[in-house]
Symmetry: C2
Subunit: 330 residues, 2 copies
């Protein structure tokens, strides 16, 4: 592994600079190309990162998660409309790190083909988990950073569920909305631990349905049980929306704004950038190691180590440490 010199002035660096210029000017094609470079990892991704050095990152990064069927797509479409009416440019990264069995009901094509398809102020992109375990977090962090650096005001990262991968992906967000709907009793119980760790705002969508009062009450008591916010601490609000009717959206945007203000007051806007950079660097560290394991040298080191383990010449932990040193220390 070297330091990824893709920015070292030559033609690749020039090409990246040209693409970044075009993307900043609003070229959807250039943005899509840059995100593909970020997704592919390695030198192309390093080149994009180097090309963005020194640019300001002004976007609010919003994570939106929740189980399939609660109306996340509709809510996001409605939120995009609200942000657009404020004049903000909005990008959406729809990330699906979970099992294909979950149904994969991310907005993706539905919204892309819909009302915002002709709006140059809206960019929507699906990111799927083709690559290795850590790759999706790194790619999402890189893409969110890119979109922020080329001038989007709001970057929405949509994902399904609050498993480990989702939590890793959502670490890039400043504010995380967890969307639920009435009558998810068991699901809510199961998600309990995850919710309290990750959500900054709880939204009960489809609030015109039966059982909304119970769901809201349950969530409020869960929030209360989780932690009692002291003075100056964030108090997780429980909001209700009917996204299809565009009802309750202002309260959601107000809560997002309030949370951002809270973060800036608590940490300063600088620390927000540091926290986001930390998530991005951590994801990249893992991705780089995984890429090294898949490269010919890595495969060879693993095969040697596995042979020693199978022969009883080394235990798995000793072998793993050797591989790690060979790949990185070398």
């Amino acid at each position: 592994m070297d330091d990824g010199p893709a920015s070292a002035g030559g033609p690749p660096g020039d090409r990246v600079a040209t693409l970044i210029g075009a993307a900043t000017g609003g070229s959807i094609r250039a943005i899509a190309r840059l995100i593909s470079m970020v997704e592919s990892g390695g030198d192309p991704a390093a080149g994009v990162a180097a090309g963005l050095l020194g640019r300001a990152r002004g976007a609010a990064v919003l994570g939106i998660t929740g189980p399939p069927g609660v109306g996340k797509s509709t809510l996001i479409a409605a939120l995009i409309g609200r942000y657009r009416s404020r004049g903000a440019r909005v990008a959406v990264l729809a990330v699906d790190p979970s099992s294909p069995f979950s149904g994969g009901a991310l907005l993706g094509d539905r919204v892309r083909m819909g009302e915002y398809s002709a709006d140059p102020g809206v960019f929507i992109r699906s990111m799927s988990s083709r690559g290795e375990l850590g790759g999706l977090s790194a790619a999402t962090a890189g893409a969110a950073d890119l979109l922020s650096a080329i001038g989007f005001d709001v970057v929405i990262v949509e994902t399904v569920g609050v498993g480990q991968n989702e939590v890793a992906v959502l670490r890039v967000a400043d504010t995380v909305l967890l969307v639920l709907s009435p009558g998810l009793g068991d699901g809510i119980q199961a998600a309990k631990a995850g919710i309290l760790e990750i959500a900054d705002v709880l939204v009960v969508n489809k609030a015109d349905r039966d059982g909304v009062a119970t769901t809201v009450r349950d969530l409020k008591s869960m929030v209360a049980l989780g932690r009692t916010p002291g003075a100056g601490q964030w108090r997780i609000p429980v909001l209700t929306t009917v996204a299809v009717d565009r009802a309750g959206l202002d309260q959601v945007l107000d809560a997002v704004d309030a949370h951002r203000l809270h973060l800036e007051r608590q940490e300063g806007s600088g620390s927000r950038a540091v926290r986001r950079a930390e998530a991005a660097v951590e994801a990249l560290v893992l991705q780089r190691l995984q890429a090294a394991l898949r490269a010919p040298d890595g495969r060879a080191a693993l095969a040697r180590a596995a042979g020693q383990v199978a022969d009883g010449a080394a235990d798995t932990h000793t072998a793993a440490n050797r591989v790690l040193r060979e790949l990185v220390g070398g």
Copy 2:
């Protein structure tokens, strides 16, 4: 990171040796304790691995996956019964790496509390994703290796779905069964790519329901589309079961046996051990790095790197390489 000297003769190594002796003798308490050490990672896990050095691993490791609701628990309970009637000792690791939203319908307590709770030839353990991303794969590989080394004849690794984490967890298995049920049309389509990569045997459970013929036909044509097996290649069978009635089980066990024979003929039984060791070492390499990132030195290195990124002094990729070298290169 050091080489994990927990086996270096002193009291910890003695204690592990005592536990391994008791576990081999059938002590459920000792097995549970050793698995907890494997789960906790670091020195305890390295100590267990070192303590097992040189022991034979005779178990067939069977991965069983599929969406919630297809009857995996019932099928596994039925398979355990069949294996027990052959005199085999069976261990089950129920792994849930996925989102809590998936419902988490793993067998876990249901079977543990049920018909096999008093049978010393059956060991069932749930493993959940408390730790970091790579931790669950490493822990599952370590636990399966332990169970094999202390004399279990069959180790079943149960998981939900075929996302990235599940694929990583199931790499430890010699043979992977994907369980589906009639009328999962969309789910099957969505899972298509994953299925063809991971499954060695397809089982349509609840085969007394409507639509079983269609599901079987769809699966067979998917398998046929995926790859045409040449001479000596494995042909993925599509089987049907009604697990509640214990119907179709012999065909499943025959397919598992046939697949194992196939592997041994193709690769020799030695290569099977190498392949399994490779999965275990790879998972451990990632786990070790994640543990290093969470340790004080790692957190400090990440914070420094993030500060440089936020200040515009470094891009994320350059910073990630620096962190990697600091943590591993020593």
